[in-house]
Symmetry: C2
Subunit: 421 residues, 2 copies
């Protein structure tokens, strides 16, 4: 498969871009004789890297709007967990397809996911054409039998994973230090080391988590993970809100990436991500939407605005987390964290990209395209989404959209009906 994008704006210049197979082959003004199978007109469009959503629970789109404006424990225990508990693999497939559709329509082509019924999400990713790092939630609450059962499942998923395309990265998902036993965390560490896997974990999301770790473990979650050797470039530490100076030094020294989820942190009143202190230390910072029950969408354009503005507001400094920095977090830093040869438009790199429609009113005038994307434009400025050299959305049309929405509605109704019974 080959695609030629004619006359598109790339970093201030009009160029032609040839994609062959999964990668950008040539980028230059007025390419000739490309014999591309598909030609896209890039006039009035800008070519940009597509977004990398570094932390989500895709199938939770099915819970969007189900329970709102509640105290955390009521929300989790009376609403979210019971409905999640009813979900089966097919439901997760349906919810993940809705998530993939939403991501494609808002310019995201990679997401780092942690959820139940792994094969459901994997199937959605395969069909929809995105890229994802998928991990199965691992929770044992210190129960040995649960831990053993979960490990068997995890190893089985790892064996099956060989059957998936190379757009799916297998990762481990120990949920958090308060929900996973020490032995299981060590097992995750060793298994990750043995097979070169990423580890996806929630870390220091809430004040309660920090306090519980101090009292139960005698140290912060970060120090505990450091003691276990569960830090480093392959450990994706999500949220990272409640950190002490020493925690940040540990993350910096070990090159552990952290994922910022500003919208979720605000909606759940979790606290403020210490961006200035982390950025100053050169810690890789990715951006994530978290799941749709605490956001309630997967739109990385909106997430960028929340990231920057929450930082400016909290620290009282409008110069912090500027548009360029936040755009990098949402694209190239995210790609780097997951070892993807993407996040920039360069010859030889993976063709994961979007065409943004410069005729969108919220992108006019165009003094500063990146500032317009971060602070003004919503997801529908994305006209075309390409992943792995394949067009997933063209002129805002994604094949099968109606059926995906209909199935999601039916499944949501079924879950609520079952819950009532």
């Amino acid at each position: 498969m080959s695609i030629l994008i004619r006359n598109v704006l790339l970093e201030g210049e009009n160029v032609d871009v040839l994609i062959r197979g999964s990668r950008f082959e040539r980028i230059a003004p007025e390419l000739e004789d490309t014999c591309a199978e598909e030609v896209l007109d890039g006039t009035d469009m800008a070519l940009l890297p597509s977004f990398v959503n570094c932390h989500t629970h895709a199938a939770m789109t099915l819970l969007r709007g189900y329970a709102e404006d509640m105290e955390l424990h009521t929300w989790l225990e009376n609403y979210i967990w019971p409905l999640e508990g009813q979900m089966e693999e097919e439901d997760v497939y349906v919810g993940s397809r809705l998530a993939c559709l939403e991501m494609i329509k808002t310019g995201t082509t990679f997401f780092n996911d942690m959820y139940w019924h792994y094969p459901g999400t994997a199937r959605a990713v395969e069909e929809m054409g995105l890229r994802a790092a998928l991990s199965s939630v691992f929770i044992d609450f210190n129960d040995q039998a649960t831990a053993d059962r979960r490990w068997r499942e995890c190893q089985e998923l790892f064996r099956e994973y060989r059957n998936y395309s190379d757009r799916i990265i297998f990762a481990l998902g120990p949920h958090a230090v308060y929900s996973v036993s020490r032995a299981s965390l060590e097992r995750a560490r060793d298994f990750a080391l043995e097979h070169g896997l990423m580890v996806h974990i929630h870390m220091s999301e809430t004040r309660a988590e920090l306090e519980q770790a101090r009292s139960a473990l005698g140290m912060t979650p970060t120090r505990y993970l450091k003691e276990l050797g569960l830090v480093g470039p392959n450990v994706c530490a999500c949220h990272a809100v409640w950190l002490e100076e020493e925690d940040m030094d540990i993350l910096a020294r070990t090159g552990t990436p952290v994922i910022h989820n500003p919208t979720s942190n605000m909606k759940l009143s979790s606290g403020q991500f210490p961006y200035p202190q982390l950025a100053e230390r050169g810690i890789p910072i990715g951006l994530g939407t978290d799941g749709c029950s605490s956001n309630n969408n997967l739109d990385m354009l909106e997430e960028m605005k929340f990231a920057s503005l929450s930082c400016k507001a909290h620290y009282g400094d409008p110069t912090l987390f500027g548009a360029g920095e936040v755009f990098h977090a949402a694209t190239r830093t995210g790609a780097r964290i997951f070892g993807l040869d993407a996040g920039r438009i360069r010859e030889g790199m993976l063709a994961d990209c979007v065409l943004v429609d410069l005729r969108h009113p919220q992108l006019v005038p165009d003094y500063n395209l990146i500032a317009n994307l971060v602070y003004s434009a919503p997801g529908d400025c994305v006209n075309t989404t390409i992943c792995n050299g394949r067009i997933l959305m063209r002129d805002r049309q994604v094949p099968g959209e109606g059926e995906i929405l209909a199935r999601a509605r039916e499944t949501a109704e079924k879950l609520v009906r079952e819950r009532a019974n």
Copy 2:
């Protein structure tokens, strides 16, 4: 003119809605024999009141993205004010048309504006078909000659205003207590009283403003306005961030509405609007986007999310400023503040409304439409926008869009070129 909307979802029920002239005439299931000139199919659509943007500077769309991530004074003095100083009436017309286009596309049909070159904005509103309260910026910095000149201009605008349609409300725009002399504020008070006008003012936006008032006037801006008699239901106090308990009591006692501009407050690091304390006192709270150089868009759907989430985050309580409350602030409370017979869908009320497309992925599933609008959906979920019984956007198409964008781009380029010379 009459419009029949067939089979549309209204507050949980499918109904037909007949609009005749500028108002909703009949709302009932399966209306017959309406002889409507225009029939819209409301299948898979929800009918909702359109948004009321209670504080903006529309023509500042022309400055969108022009200067970003800067310290406040550098930003204002070296970038925003010089470019604004170059703008002429035609530029303001062009910028206001772009603003109207953006508002129509994101479901807003009323805005409360304060800017220079009033007739430019008025002309844009007339042509584009929205409703607006327009005030000319009044700043005299205690200079008598400036004050007198501005008053003559203001009175002339008031005379001309009789020529506009009833979609335009004339209001007074004394900028703020630090930029307008006591004599001019008193003149505004008397003129407003005499002619039954709204007064649009910035109040207690920043800590610096509060401190300056304390030192220069010996009291808070709110107390000063109270002393001048410039409080009450006709005074629209914008921002209202830095308030003391006594200030809030004054606002409550006098029925003075306040306008919350969460995105602008966050982007400029102005501080946190004390929503819980104001709401508790029953003070009318409207929502505004502020201008596009500190937001950078006019999307009230996004503004609602920022309003709710900034409140939850700041006060550490996820139950605060829930979806229903914020939707009311953005619709019916705003309408009430401006004396509009709008903000709800009822027989006899003004037909200012939107059709929201329930097939938008970010509105699926649909457990709670209002929560989906506040927390998930972006502006492009709005399919049709109607103001004063006239269709301004149909199936996301606004007549003349291409020309509006082209003129805005040209004007922005001209302003930057002139600035460079």
